[in-house]
């Protein structure tokens, strides 16, 4: 089977299971909503302050939901003992990784798309004329999370204390994406002197590309036989 066929197959399988059972989706959406509420309680009703903290709140939301979603990547395979079968199969491992990363990207992007408008409304931030740029940023950020987090999610299959270790491992690695995201969003919203978001987009695209290629090379070596 070719790379594309394997990718399509694993993607379809995971999406079908996910959309039928909806367990990860619903959990993530509820968690994101809870986080949104918590952040709204934490900040006073001053529109200036809200505008300044909005980027941080937005990306903190992405961080928590992204990490939570990533931890569930191989959960089903691990639970049913299918992980070994997946790895031993002649399917291209890079394609399996790419498909899982796409699923994670979809989940994170979906949850973020749902909760960002709610966050904007609750914090009374007007995003109407920057929707395109913010969406592009969130998409690139979610991609960065997926590309870094999905290979690392293999840890949850083997290691002890994976629930605690995975965030500890993922957080420092996605730091560039977070910095680029928060500063980029702030520059789009005009709350910082530098108004040009292009360098931040470049950084995120570069990061995504490096981990797209690097992940493909390393995933093969990472999984045990």
């Amino acid at each position: 089977m070719s790379f594309a066929e394997t990718l399509a197959l694993v993607w379809r399988k995971d999406m079908r299971i996910e959309l039928r059972s909806k367990d990860t989706l619903v959990t993530l959406v509820l968690f994101a909503l809870v986080m949104t509420m918590v952040f709204t309680f934490g900040f006073a009703n001053d529109p200036q302050t809200n505008l300044r903290v909005f980027p941080s709140v937005l990306w903190a939301n992405v961080l928590f939901c992204g990490t939570l979603g990533v931890g569930r990547t191989f959960a089903r395979e691990a639970r049913d003992g299918a992980f070994t079968a997946l790895i031993l199969s002649p399917a291209h491992r890079g394609a399996i990784l790419a498909a899982k990363a796409l699923v994670n990207l979809f989940l994170t992007a979906f949850v973020t798309a749902l909760t960002t408008p709610i966050l904007a409304v609750m914090l009374r931030v007007d995003l109407s004329d920057v929707v395109g740029l913010i969406s592009a940023q969130l998409f690139l950020g979610a991609a960065g999370f997926a590309l870094v987090g999905t290979p690392l999610a293999v840890m949850a299959v083997n290691a002890r204390f994976a629930e605690v270790l995975l965030p500890m491992v993922v957080f420092p690695l996605v730091a560039p994406v977070l910095i680029a995201g928060v500063t980029g969003t702030a520059s789009i919203l005009g709350t910082i002197p530098e108004q040009d978001p292009r360098p931040w987009f470049q950084l995120m695209i570069g990061f995504d590309l490096v981990y797209l290629v690097g992940g493909q090379f390393l995933f093969d070596r990472m999984v045990t036989e």
Binding site: N158, A175, I179, E194
Partner: protein, 227 residues
């Protein structure tokens, strides 16, 4: 004569000489005063920290490719030494910064990059030590170390661009060194790098022996005995 003992003796002499040179021989710096003397061990510690993390990255790559346990032991030893010296850097830095800048910490490119670097390899170490004994975990940790290494570049770029809009803080190394200071600095650097090498070799041998003990225990178990 035993090479290790000779090197340990040389290292001890070097460290004592480095201290004396730093405290007595080198002049007190005009602008910062006596607190500048932290520099004689702070900067070499940073070099040792980088050396440790590079060793970890090289060992991890070699382990992923060859699957030989000694590379994993090398990587772990590198990470541990890198973390110890990184911790030294992150403790002595604020101790210098408080009298010199007035604050314990600033979100400056070098400080933020260093803190994140130490966090990444701390994650590697925690995973390796507490994640379980299987080969899978070790291989995963090695991949993590390799993942972390290009990230250092991204973090540095991101933080520099981020802080680029704010006024630059003065370089910690200050202006050029006088000849006396230069001697003290190079002796301290040599002594600390030798110390790093000796500790690294010691930790590496310890991890190798630990793996040997594990292998022997498995052998006994296979032969039918109990461990």
């Amino acid at each position: 004569m035993n090479l290790r003992l000779a090197l340990i003796a040389l290292c001890t002499i070097g460290v004592i000489a480095g201290h004396w040179l730093a405290f007595d021989f080198a002049p007190i710096e005009a602008r910062m005063g006596v607190i500048q003397k932290i520099f004689y061990f702070h900067v070499p510690s940073a070099m040792a920290c980088y050396a440790g993390f590079i060793a970890c990255c090289v060992g991890s790559l070699a382990y992923l490719w060859s699957r030989k346990g000694r590379w994993d032991a090398l990587a772990l030893a590198g990470a541990e030494l890198g973390l110890i010296f990184g911790l030294i850097v992150l403790v002595t830095g604020p101790l210098w910064a408080r009298p010199a800048w007035g604050v314990w910490w600033k979100w400056e490119p070098r400080l933020t990059s260093m803190a994140l670097l130490v966090l990444m390899f701390a994650a590697y170490w925690v995973l390796h030590t507490f994640g379980g004994a299987g080969e899978g975990v070790r291989r995963f940790a090695a991949a993590l170390a390799v993942f972390a290494t290009p990230n250092i570049y991204f973090v540095h770029v991101a933080v520099e661009k981020w802080k680029g809009m704010h006024p630059e803080l003065e370089d910690k190394a200050g202006s050029g060194l006088s000849p006396d200071m230069r001697i003290a600095f190079f002796v301290s650097m040599a002594a600390l790098m030798l110390l790093f090498a000796l500790l690294f070799e010691q930790r590496y041998r310890m991890h190798l022996h630990a793996r040997l003990v594990g292998a022997l225990r498995r052998r006994i178990h296979r032969l039918g005995g109990d461990v």
